[in-house]
């Protein structure tokens, strides 16, 4: 697949760093993602992928660097305001509302994006919001589970609902943190189909350990290791990249800088 040159930048990250006490989780990341681009972010456990997502979504503030979304600096914008720019995300371990039903979960995502959180009256708009929630549920294949309380969904269904919550926020940039984690091969297949079929205008960032999912969805791949970007290219380039092979298949690897923790490269990281 040919990579189109970045037209309008959806996401522009410069020198982004984040330190938790003695751990440099992310250091000096530069990232440019074009509007409508499908980007996979790969890397072994502890590479800083989830921290990068937390920095982009505003759950954690960086210690250095800045983030721009559609040309607007959002480095210190609170998480709840970033959704107004169309930035939505999912979580590596599901963060759902276990005591509410599937329909109510997605409805909350729709209401959150539309504002009106303090509205103590049910209005006509809510029927419309619920209709949209049902529509999203059927896109992720949960249309016959609408009234089921989330706590009694299977793991796979909870992962589908994670994606549904990100879709509920009228996304322009969707960040999916290991959407296929723990899914069966069949579920992975339908998830991949869903991701491929998304509106081409939506920018997609996917953290995924499953190479088949990641490389089928992505037009471009960024590889992280120990808080840094170590490779960036098309799926074909990344497949042929010796460094990436070493990282994923467990050849000894020397971190590119002495500040790295110096371990983790020797283990095979396949999960």
């Amino acid at each position: 697949m040919a990579t189109s040159p970045p037209v309008a930048g959806a996401l522009r990250v410069r020198g982004l760093s984040c330190r938790f006490g003695g751990v440099q989780a992310v250091s000096g990341i530069d990232l440019d993602v074009a509007g409508g681009e499908r980007r996979a972010i790969l890397g072994p456990n502890g590479a800083g992928k989830t921290t990068l997502f937390n920095l982009l979504s505003g759950e954690v503030y960086p210690t250095a660097g800045h983030v721009e979304v559609f040309g607007q600096d959002v480095t210190l914008t609170p998480a709840r305001k970033r959704i107004k720019l169309g930035l939505t995300r999912t979580y590596q371990t599901s963060r759902l509302f276990p005591r509410l039903s599937v329909a109510e979960n997605i409805y909350l995502a729709v209401v959150g994006a539309e504002g009106g959180q303090l509205r103590p009256l049910r209005l006509h708009r809510d029927d419309e919001f619920e209709a949209r929630a049902r529509q999203i549920a059927s896109r992720v294949g949960l249309n016959d589970r609408l009234e089921v309380v989330v706590a009694s969904l299977s793991h796979g269904e909870q992962r589908q609902l994670e994606v549904a919550l990100a879709l509920g926020g009228k996304p322009k940039i969707m960040m999916l943190d290991e959407p296929a984690a723990g899914l069966s091969p069949a579920e992975r297949g339908s998830l991949t189909d869903l991701l491929v079929s998304l509106d081409p205008a939506v920018t997609l960032l996917v953290v995924e350990h499953d190479m088949d999912v990641a490389l089928r969805v992505a037009q471009r791949v960024t590889v992280m290791h120990e808080g840094r970007v170590v490779a960036d290219g098309t799926p074909a380039e990344i497949r042929g990249n010796q460094l990436v092979h070493d990282l994923y298949l467990g050849r000894a690897y020397q971190p590119p800088s002495p500040s790295g923790r110096g371990q983790g490269g020797g283990r095979s990281v396949t999960d």
Binding site: I83, F97, L108, Q117, R119, P120
Partner: protein, 338 residues
């Protein structure tokens, strides 16, 4: 009917037994409602007043705790103090300033909600045990404020509050007061049930279940918590107004730490998960408080034992017992048919 699938091969017979059980429950509930509706006619003046009115009023106050816990997941120790604010405001306006009791009540509810917004703005930035401690601090501050400020009668409090003529004199004829408190209880119950199905109510339940997700979905979590706290204060304030009308006085002893813990005890005995538990807990508490002195002067020990018994036997409180019975019946049926 989906829930009946577990019954297996002898489904029809089992369904019959189950329907019988459900019917029994419905009859029991209807009977209870009739009794509740006819308390002033069926019981003595003393009972209707000391047990009837008092349970309803304490129940409303406890309902504010249960609302906050069940819908938003916040356990508050400030509710006694907040109903004290409403009671004191009503008394001050009516007795010292001669304001009409209805107007005094209205202003009192408004003042309580404003105070709660201030307390809530501080407390709502925290959660769990920290929220509990901050609300406890607000409660203690309120207690000392009313017990020190002479404009509110300091240790004596304010006496001689008369309820509106419509509600009558609670100790002579509690009928008006009883139905007043009953109507308020029903309205609060309906209000909370409605609120749960509004965007605001769903947002509160979202905050209860997963506040980090709520933030990412675009919700202002501290604002929602503060607003919920104000709704809780609104409920408690209605209880406070009724309390001061019923007792015709208010003093710091009514809002001290012991009373704060009493109210939490009522909520836990009744069941923190469901609103109706508030009134059931209040009824049990009031019965023990009123009748135990005939047999023992160790009320605290007794209520402590009852608390332990209820919590151990049914973690969901008195309202939880119904659910436990449901599950027991289902297990029995499933076991017999297997």
């Amino acid at each position: 009917m989906k829930r009946l699938r577990f019954l297996g091969p002898h489904r029809e017979e089992a369904v019959g037994t189950l329907l019988g059980w459900l019917w029994l429950k419905r009859v029991a509930l209807a009977g209870l409602l009739v009794v509740v509706l006819l308390v002033p006619q069926l019981f003595s003046t003393f009972f209707a007043s000391s047990i009837g009115v008092q349970s309803l009023v304490l129940g409303i106050a406890a309902a504010s705790i249960i609302f906050l816990n069940a819908v938003v997941g916040m356990v508050s120790l400030a509710q006694t103090a907040l109903y004290g604010v409403a009671a004191y405001t009503t008394a001050k306006l009516a007795v010292d300033l001669g304001v009409d009791p209805w107007l005094a009540a209205l202003v009192a509810v408004g003042v309580t909600v404003v105070v709660a917004l201030l307390f809530g703005a501080v407390a709502s930035r925290s959660g769990g045990i920290y929220f509990l401690m901050i609300t406890l601090a607000s409660s203690v501050i309120t207690y000392y404020f009313f017990s020190q400020v002479t404009a509110f009668g300091s240790h004596e409090g304010i006496n001689g509050v008369t309820p509106p003529a419509l509600l009558g004199k609670p100790f002579v004829d509690p009928t008006g007061m009883y139905y007043g408190a009953l109507i308020c209880s029903v309205l609060i119950y309906v209000l909370v049930r409605y609120l749960r199905r509004t965007p605001f109510g769903y947002a509160l339940q979202g905050v209860r279940d997963e506040s980090i997700r709520m933030r990412a979905l675009g919700f202002n979590v501290p604002l929602l918590r503060t607003a919920a706290f104000a709704v809780g204060a609104f409920i408690a304030a209605i209880g406070g107004v009724l309390l001061v009308w019923y007792n015709s006085s208010i003093s710091p002893g009514t809002i001290d730490l012991t009373r704060t813990i009493d109210l939490l005890t009522i909520a836990v005995i009744g069941g923190l998960g469901r609103l109706e538990g508030a009134w059931l807990g209040a009824l049990l508490f009031t019965l023990i408080q009123t009748y135990s002195p005939r047999y023992t002067d160790r009320f605290e020990t007794l209520i402590g034992l009852v608390f332990l018994a209820v919590v151990l036997a049914s973690p969901g409180g008195i309202v939880g017992i119904s659910g436990s019975l449901d599950r027991w019946v289902q297990r029995r049926l499933a076991g017999r048919k297997a």
